[in-house]
Assembly symmetry: C2
Homo-oligomer: 470 residues x 2
């Protein structure tokens, strides 16, 4: 009995001593990551170039290709073990200019409103479309009004984002079906076009674009779809109440071209112990065309690049192979994310962890995890390490669109979760520009990502996926 007692105490002391040492080492490493990011960060300069020297990076455009070349060149300067481009064919949809709209309340009485084509929409006829408007609060309202009230009209989807939801992404999720599926559903009832209230929690004059789908609607039955600003939506809705017979006019010039060659940009620090076990950090290099794509998702790209740069700068040599992947075509196709996952499976590359930053470059609050219980418990044990940096959000939930296709049983997917309150003020709109990103907030996000990757790399996966030394 005495022996067991002594043994237990010895074990306790040893394990406590060990874990104390680990905790101190982890604290110091994480402190050095944040210090490097805040005192000698590179992400803000990279974003400056992507946003101000290149600009919006819609898939298939010259700007998107410039961004591929620029980020490849910058990764090559970091002294990584490998940098390469992964070819992927991407769709090429163009907005065309000018696009415009007005409300007509009588002969010659018109009010210009701010609209933009939804991504993937067809053009209007050359002369535009003019028709009466029926306002609905969502796709589910269409059946209520039926063909008799909808046919020949423009359907106006006006359900706003719910302002009382604290997580603005949840508010977005509660509305975005109008944008994504509104046109294909309204066409079934004979609508000639649709207008969607912008997914924006703020009242302003900026229309917000975003992807939409016609599903299997035959090409000759596809109707044009535009977004209207929140102020415009309120004006239209109020005017409709006063004058249900008003006419709405809009004109857009979208075109779809054949797919074009593009690339995911990939850099790797090869693991010292488990070179064939991969951990990915990434964002998407493409953006919408109205702004510079600084928050969506230039921020996520430069933060992901920064993770690998920080490791090099603090001379941390990861055990696993750490890859930064700048995915192409998240916005209107997800071709890059699918391609990366497809090739990883073909090559039997074992991915154990992936982290995406695609929620804006705002102050980081934590992470959302697509994760099993064992790994989640491990993450929870790291919470105190993040407390000095005010990182407090560690919850189960979604991760990121681009890394989703990588998902395999037992793998951990994570998404950086910055403060979300301002995100939809800028999302997919003309004001998603560099000046809306704060340097410190961006840098804190990159450091927070690097710290999580460091911990997963150091402790491996907790769910029995073997990180076996070869």
């Amino acid at each position: 009995m005495y022996k067991i007692y002594v043994l237990l105490i010895a074990l306790f002391i040893t394990s406590e001593g060990f874990s104390q040492t680990n905790h101190e080492r982890d604290s110091l490493t994480i402190r050095s990551i944040y210090d490097m990011a805040l005192l000698n960060g590179k992400s803000y300069d990279w974003l400056d170039y992507l946003s101000n020297e290149i600009g919006g990076r819609l898939s298939g455009t010259l700007n998107a290709e410039k961004a591929v070349k620029y980020t490849q060149a910058e990764l090559e300067k970091l002294g990584l073990d490998k940098v390469w481009l992964q070819p992927v064919m991407v769709p090429k949809w163009t907005r065309g200019f000018p696009e415009y709209a007005y409300i007509e309340t009588g002969p010659g009485k018109t009010f210009i409103t701010d609209v933009c084509a939804l991504g993937g929409s067809v053009a209007t006829p050359d002369l535009g479309i003019k028709a009466g408007v029926i306002e609905v609060q969502g796709v589910e309202d269409l059946a209520k009004y039926g063909k008799e009230q909808i046919e020949g009209k423009i359907v106006f989807f006006n359900r706003p984002m719910q302002a009382d939801l604290i997580n603005t992404f949840q508010a977005y999720g509660g509305c975005v079906d109008q944008r994504y599926a509104g046109a294909m559903e309204a066409a079934k009832y004979g609508a000639v076009g649709i207008i969607v209230r912008s997914m924006n929690l703020r009242q302003d004059d900026l229309p917000h674009t975003g992807t939409m789908s016609y599903g299997d609607t035959p090409v000759n039955q596809r109707i044009p779809a535009c977004a209207i600003s929140t102020n415009g939506a309120d004006l239209l809705s109020n005017t409709l109440k006063l004058l249900p017979t008003l006419q709405f006019y809009f004109k857009q010039n979208c075109k779809v071209y054949p797919d074009v060659q593009s690339y995911n940009v990939i850099g790797e620090i090869t693991g010292t112990t488990y070179p064939d076990k991969y951990m990915v950090v990434g964002g998407h290099l493409d953006s919408w065309d109205l702004g510079d794509g600084s928050h969506d998702d230039g921020a996520g790209c430069v933060q992901s690049m920064e993770v690998l740069r920080l490791f090099k700068e603090i001379n941390y040599k990861p055990k696993h192979s750490i890859r930064v992947v700048l995915f192409m075509n998240e916005e209107n196709g997800l071709r890059g994310g699918k391609k990366y996952a497809e090739e990883a499976r073909q090559k039997k590359e074992k991915h154990v962890f992936a982290l995406e930053s695609d929620s804006g470059g705002f102050s980081p609050r934590g992470f959302s995890f697509d994760i099993d219980d064992a790994n989640f418990a491990q993450v929870k044990s790291w919470e105190s390490l993040f407390k000095p940096y005010l990182i407090h959000y560690f919850e189960k939930g979604g991760s990121g669109a681009d890394i989703g296709p990588l998902k395999e049983s037992g793998m951990v997917l994570a998404g950086l979760r910055p403060d979300s309150q301002r995100y939809f003020d800028y999302h997919h709109a003309a004001n998603d520009t560099f000046d809306a990103v704060n340097k410190r907030e961006l840098e804190l996000g990159g450091a927070t990502m690097a710290s999580l990757v460091y911990l997963f790399d150091t402790y491996g996966m907790a769910n029995g996926i073997p990180s076996v030394k070869k």
Copy 2:
């Protein structure tokens, strides 16, 4: 033994049942507070008026008096039990225009730089001051250089804010002695003026003002003090390294007038159970003169007003008397805060809790508490109620300047702690304007304050201060 066991179980069930009910009631009340703030908030409109219709509200100015009248009138619309003005004499310092500066590197070779007078500074002579410059990294450097190197020169305090500190207020605290005491200390060594690097973590062209003191320096030995933008500071520092003999010129036109009459604006909901126990929420109504004072501290004022409005809207009748106090003259005198505390003592008003919002209108993260252990334990027991709103920061620390003078043994003082990363981009500078405040973030701050006040009002003080029914 059996009886004790039964008794214990009964107690357990009862207390659990009771606390479960309380938790549910509190959850629902707090949800209703946030819903009201986000769906039907008033703080943003109030701030719009204060910022855009009135503007900067330096103590002693017409704008400050307009703000007193406006907020009094708005509080009167809320149906509070009492609204009144508390007279307080405030200093009147004016900047005077124009103010300007340049670096001279040779005859006729000058570079204009961006400066502003520090609050409380004397004017330069009519023709301005031109002198050589000695750069120091802080007040403590003065003794090192001594009178022989400083006399007749302008001292340039250039210690920057530490970018690796996560709490930017800590970084501010580490620099602000240069601004506050730089002139009085440099004058002792015969300096003819001082330049202070702006307390800004960002590189830009905006000088940031703020209060300074001459201590007991005789009037005829007071030297003018200005702030230079961070870009200007770097230009000056770099140019000094190349040309230590450069001359710096600046001109400012500050004046001090006799004290003028002003007011704290106060509104009260009288408590149902403890009408003579007071809980205060507040911010300061005055601001610096360069911007609109939207973050500092228009935000705190309208959030504090919102706390009382929310209680009225959700029909919550507090047990304690809840006061909103909009303090005058925090920035350059703290006369309002001192006056309120002084009168409270004279009238023997028992204050048990005070909460200030004076850290900007950004996304709220939690509170800092000047608090005893019993009340802190109580606060910690409320943490889960705040989790749905991502409010996670509950730490001991400072509260707010205006409520500081109220401090008495056993009383709880608290400060709202919003995300601090962007705060010093705007603090005391020309860009502290309405457009820099996000509606949702402002509203979340007000709701978070109201929720804390609700909890303290409901549960009372945990430290034995009797909230005795009269």
